[in-house]
């Protein structure tokens, strides 16, 4: 793939590359999937806004040729809410990690989902705080190791999908970096969806999570994703025992009829004019 590939039109490759991400990291793959989804939907780059918080995943906006905003830790969704309300025609993509999106930013996440505001939230879930060097996050599984869980994690982890559905998001899906084709399709659907669309993407951090949890190579981590994910259609035919320890991937909720916040606000404005 040379600089003539159409994807280069969407990258700030002359200014910002190489990226800060470690070898074997999954974030670049996800960035590629997001760009291809935007390309296939034919969005004007001037209408796309990518917002992020703090962490490895949050460096993504610097590399893509959209309107890009790198904000504070955990608050990306709240910034995106302001942008979307002020200019409703813009397409808002929020990229968070698991610590950024679920710990410090958990409150903004559930409330944006509750409002069902038209934002696409790509939650890059590698179960670790990477930027700060390997501390446990709200999605680190029990008994997994991290530098702040040196004897194994004793906290239960969040199920991002259940959380998103319970909070009121109208589109909720999970995928993994290993399932690159599925990931692309799901992100495209999430972008097209009008309302809060949440995509939990299981990603890999071989340098920290992998090293601490006996999966030192990116290939081992991707194979782990292959072995530990079950498609939602296949899962429907399996018993709970068979699904123990597995992550179901696919689209869990896709409700286009739920009232969307910005449209509701516009209706309110219109009703006051009469």
């Amino acid at each position: 793939m040379g600089p003539k590939s159409p994807i280069y039109d969407y990258l700030r490759y002359k200014k910002k590359f190489p990226t800060v991400w470690c070898p074997g990291c999954g974030i670049g793959t996800i960035m590629g999937a997001i760009i291809r989804a935007v390309m296939s939907l034919g969005y004007d780059k001037n209408d796309v806004v990518m917002v992020s918080g703090i962490g490895c995943s949050s460096r993504m906006p610097a590399y893509v040729d959209f309107n890009t905003l790198h904000t504070t830790h955990g608050r990306a969704i709240a910034f995106a809410t302001g942008i979307k309300l002020a200019k409703p025609h813009l397409k808002l993509i929020v990229v968070t990690g698991d610590g950024d999106g679920l710990a410090i930013g958990g409150n903004h996440f559930i409330h944006a989902a509750r409002r069902n505001i038209d934002i696409t939230h790509i939650l890059i879930n590698n179960s670790i705080y990477g930027m700060t060097g390997g501390q446990y996050s709200p999605t680190t599984p029990r008994r997994a190791f991290a530098y702040t869980a040196p004897y194994g994690n004793i906290e239960p982890d969040f199920d991002v999908v259940e959380l998103g559905i319970a909070a009121g998001a109208s589109f909720v899906a999970r995928t993994a970096v290993y399932h690159i084709i599925q990931m692309g399709k799901i992100i495209e659907k999430a972008l097209k969806h009008k309302g809060y669309s949440l995509v939990d993407v299981i990603s890999q951090c071989p340098v920290l999570y992998g090293r601490l949890n006996k999966m030192r190579s990116p290939v081992e981590m991707l194979l782990w994703q292959k072995e530990h994910t079950v498609d939602i259609k296949v899962a429907a035919k399996k018993s709970p025992e068979e699904l123990e320890g597995k992550y179901i991937v696919g689209i869990f909720k896709d409700d286009p009829d739920m009232p969307e916040y910005v449209s509701e606000y516009q209706k309110l404005i219109d009703s006051l004019k009469e």
Binding site: N46, T68, H70, T72, A78, T81, I83, L85, A86, K87
Partner: protein, 384 residues
């Protein structure tokens, strides 16, 4: 709308709302907190009627985040809060500062720290308004003292924010926020409204944080066709993060110089009977009204007292204090806290003078008598 023919009795918080609308505010993000909530309620009622947007966010950090987002998308945007909420907002005030995003933050001061005195008056966030966020920071903060002035200074706060592309804090206090006074809506064509500088250069040549002689750069909104990067990291003129020493220094100095170059333009104050004064009171906000009365009463007793009322608190008008202190023998700084602005006054005075505070920090408005008491003390200290 209360106008010259039909003045109305209006609350300070409501006058703030009128001022914001007059300045062109079209976005309010907030979180309920006493004693500022009436501003949010007013904006929730009025903004949608005008096609603007109001959102009640899940907390104060989210409020200011939404406000900054709306401003980046081109709206004039504000929030209003009080003590604890103002503390929570500090990180995003820093973010707006380093990303050069115009926003207005109204802080209706109540007693603190922590939950403090939620329903009682105070001026104890004065230093916080200047130094609340982490890192080197040059703040802009205005402090009106009457309902009419709340309107005027809310407009000025938006103008300063838009012109300087920086967060501006409007410091009110509980007394001012809840007091009802005569208010006249000025003729619309008499209200000066300033908008942020927009680019004329094509996208290919555009640099969001370009170094300019007056440190003001062009600011297109997201969606205007100028795709650029904004980050809370120290950045180069393009907006991308940098770790190059020379660029770090230039970026920090641009943010500082932007405020200092235009300091005179945004320094507001009023002198009252200072021409022949040998004793000077310095005050702001509602304390300045008690101070004015103290001047009148002291003059009855043939004390040559004058008042310097500050409307611009930050950047602190050091030169003005230095100049006025030249002809006086003592200064009283009247404020409703344990002595915050007095530190700045002491730093700004080039020669040694008795400088005393008249302070009240029990949640009640300071009285003229208390200020006169301090005047007598400063007078006495000189005679010793």
């Amino acid at each position: 709308m209360p106008n010259k023919e039909r003045p109305a009795l209006v609350q300070g918080n409501i006058a703030c709302g009128y001022g914001a609308l007059a300045a062109g505010c079209s976005f309010f993000g907030g979180y309920p907190i006493t004693p500022s909530t009436e501003i949010a309620e007013f904006m929730a009622r009025e903004l949608p009627k005008r096609g603007g947007k109001f959102i009640q966010m899940e907390d104060e950090m989210g409020s200011l985040a939404a406000v900054i987002g709306a401003s980046i998308a081109g709206a004039k945007a504000m929030t209003a809060t009080s003590g604890p909420g103002f503390s929570l907002m500090q990180e995003h005030i820093g973010f707006a500062y380093i990303t050069e995003t115009p926003i207005v933050v109204v802080n209706v001061m109540r007693g603190g720290p922590s939950t403090g005195l939620p329903t009682m008056t105070s001026q104890s966030d004065t230093l916080q308004a200047g130094f609340g966020t982490h890192g080197d920071y040059y703040a802009v903060a205005f402090a009106p003292s009457s309902v009419q002035e709340v309107f005027e200074y809310t407009v000025k706060a938006f103008n300063a924010a838009e012109f300087l592309q920086t967060p501006v804090v409007l410091l009110m206090d509980e007394t001012l926020a809840h007091m009802r006074e005569k208010f006249i809506y000025p003729p619309t064509d008499s209200i000066e409204v300033i908008n942020r500088k927009k680019p004329e250069t094509p996208f290919a040549w555009f640099k969001r944080f370009e170094m300019t002689p007056d440190c003001i750069s062009d600011f297109p909104a997201f969606g205007d066709g100028y795709r650029y990067h904004i980050t809370g990291l120290v950045h180069d003129p393009m907006g991308f993060p940098t770790a190059v020493s020379s660029e770090i220094v230039k970026s920090a100095e641009k943010l500082r110089d932007k405020i200092l170059i235009h300091k005179d333009r945004f320094t507001y104050y009023e002198k009252f009977m200072t021409d022949d004064a040998i004793w000077l009171i310095i005050a702001f906000g509602t304390a300045a009204r008690s101070a004015k009365q103290a001047v009148i009463e002291a003059r009855h007793h043939r004390m040559k007292v004058g008042l310097l009322q500050l409307y611009t608190i930050w950047p602190f008008p050091d030169e003005l204090i230095a100049e006025l202190s030249r002809n006086v023998e003592g200064i009283v700084v009247a404020e409703m806290n344990m002595g915050q602005l007095i530190r700045e006054v002491k730093k700004a005075c080039p020669r040694k003078l008795p400088i005393l505070g008249a302070n009240r920090y029990d949640g009640v408005l300071i009285t003229p008598d208390e200020i006169i008491h301090s005047l007598k003390a400063v007078h006495g200290s000189k005679e010793k």
